[in-house]
Amino acid sequence: MGIADHFPALIVVVLFAAAFLSPLLYRYAEKISAPFVIASLLLSLLMSIALLVQVQQFGPVFYHMGGWPPPWGIEFSADPIRVYILIVVTAVSLWIFLYALRDLKHELKKEVIGWYYTLYSILVGSMAGIALTNDLFNLFVLMEICAISACAIISIKEDRECLEASFKYLILSAMGTGCFLLGVAMIYMATGYLNYSFIQAALAEAIVHYPLNIFTAAALFIVAFGTKAALFPLHVWLPDAHASAPTPSSAMLSGLVIKIYAFALFLMFYHVFPRGMLTTIPLNEIILWMAALGTMFGSVYAMIQTDLKKMLAFSSIGQISYIFMGIGFHHDLALVGAFYHIMVHAITKALLFMTAGVIIYSTGVRKISDLAGIGRILPLTMLAFTIGSASMVGIPGTGGLISKWYLALSALEIGRPLFVLVILASSLLNAIYYMPIVINAFMHQEDFIHEVRPVPRYMLASLIVGMFFVIVTGFFSRPVVTLLEQAAILLF
């Protein structure tokens, strides 16, 4: 066996190994600790890309940990959609880390930065694991790792707000994990398996004998992943957690962490539950309406915020709802839209949080009303904010349009034009709270009154990379959409 056969395991292992070594490196060889983490993120990104090539040439890849075949051993599986998510996770986290290098020195105490590297690598590694694993209990363990490291990168700032927010997050996310574990127990009771593929095969028959078990498990899964991904009525932890965290953490949490749970729910729906189940009981309908309400209320809440980061956090609730909506439509074009939105929103929201971070770094301003006239002081930053907002609203030429386009298209295909109106209305609502900031920043007559520090080049470079990708996803969506279309059709 060549080394390429081990890529599914190595992608996760490299990140965990980097996590364990970076506190030592930070203590004894501080200079190389950050490049070391960058190298490990880059290595896992390259391996993910190699895995994509491999999967597209030879079909899905299965990897058995320790050589034990399922249903006994833990299995990792790589199909085009999973590897696509993997690439999004590793690429975006590499980009956010480059930004974090400068920002962390400003926001954290010096001695905890090494630990931040550890937590960051563990977080990325656990997300990569969630994307790859094919085993329910392994998923549970990785979700716990992900939740704990996500809480820790909020509370590492050690001020009152962060501790309170991360404690709230910890409790609610533990409730989510608890629901998930109970659901796994229900499924294990009915089938005796933990491997997705074995469960799916066994459930086709077991659902006749134990319908209540399976329905309860489905309900528990929706609550579990809904809580973790901040689906509308379960979102209460998100605004505080994402707004008070250090900026790179906010970008990670809003950009990637909530999406990986939406993806996990997709895996449950399409790889664990039997195919007929989604059409016979109205699971999709529940998700769809929760998501439709979420797109509206997320935007309405965002509108009344006065704090910039809090507004961005509430906007994430609206945006994650589009992804759930795509899962809820139960149609291949909708899944294309949802998965494209995972990428687009990861890039866009990370970019917006970075601009917020740059503004706070440079001027200390957090209140939206104080941003008037800032466009003339920090033109590049506000240009990045403008492009990010445009993508949130879905203006042509940005990635946000493509995903909304596919969602609306599939709403028409399945004959529910009401949801096209929902998507349109929520886009308008997005415009209502994003555009005034842009207009005020550039058009305001009076001068910006706060003191301004020069912005480091690293930060500006990250913003330029972000703008570039927001526009690239808007104009050159074909290759990714083709990949997703081919993968989505196989699911129906």
Binding site: A9, L10, V13, F20, L24, G66, G67
Partner: protein
């Protein structure tokens, strides 16, 4: 010499220096440590294993630090060394998995990769499992000590 006396501590409050507690814990600590190592090494043969054994071993170090003071505890194992061992233990686990890949199995493979199995029931058997148990034992013991130090130092 009085058996017990109170002394002022640097950060305020008092510490009790009790000869009975000190002598007893100094006497008992090596036995606890040997028992901890025993539980770790027999992880693949008997109940217990790396987690329980590591916790027992770590507890003995915490006991000494509690009955004497932080400086004496730090002479046994310093905070730096403990957190270094913590990283090393976890990394050793991963390294064992990677060695399995290097000698031709899947990640974390044991017999399939060609680790020596030995005679079932003997101490040195079960290949990679024994190696991993030792690494996890080191990790757990040092984690308990690190947690203890972090909580104590957090007071100041």
């Amino acid at each position: 010499m009085p058996l017990s006396r109170r002394t002022e501590r640097r950060g305020g409050g008092t510490a009790i220096e009790d000869q009975i507690v000190r002598i007893t814990s100094r006497l008992v600590a090596p036995f606890i440590q040997v028992y901890g190592i025993y539980v770790i090494l027999h992880g693949h043969l008997s109940p217990g294993g790396s987690f329980s054994g590591g916790a027992i071993f770590g507890a003995s170090l915490v006991l000494v630090a509690l009955s004497f003071n932080l400086e004496t505890g730090a002479k046994q194992i310093s905070h730096q060394l403990a957190s270094g061992l913590e990283s090393g233990g976890a990394f050793g686990f991963i390294l064992t998995g990677l060695i399995a890949i290097a000698i031709g199995g899947n990640f974390l493979a044991n017999r399939a990769a060609g680790f020596p199995m030995g005679q079932a029931g003997e101490l040195f058997s079960a290949g990679a499992i024994l190696i991993i148990t030792v690494f996890v034992g080191i990790k757990v013991a040092s984690t308990i000590v690190t947690l203890f130090y972090t909580i104590i130092e957090g007071e100041e």
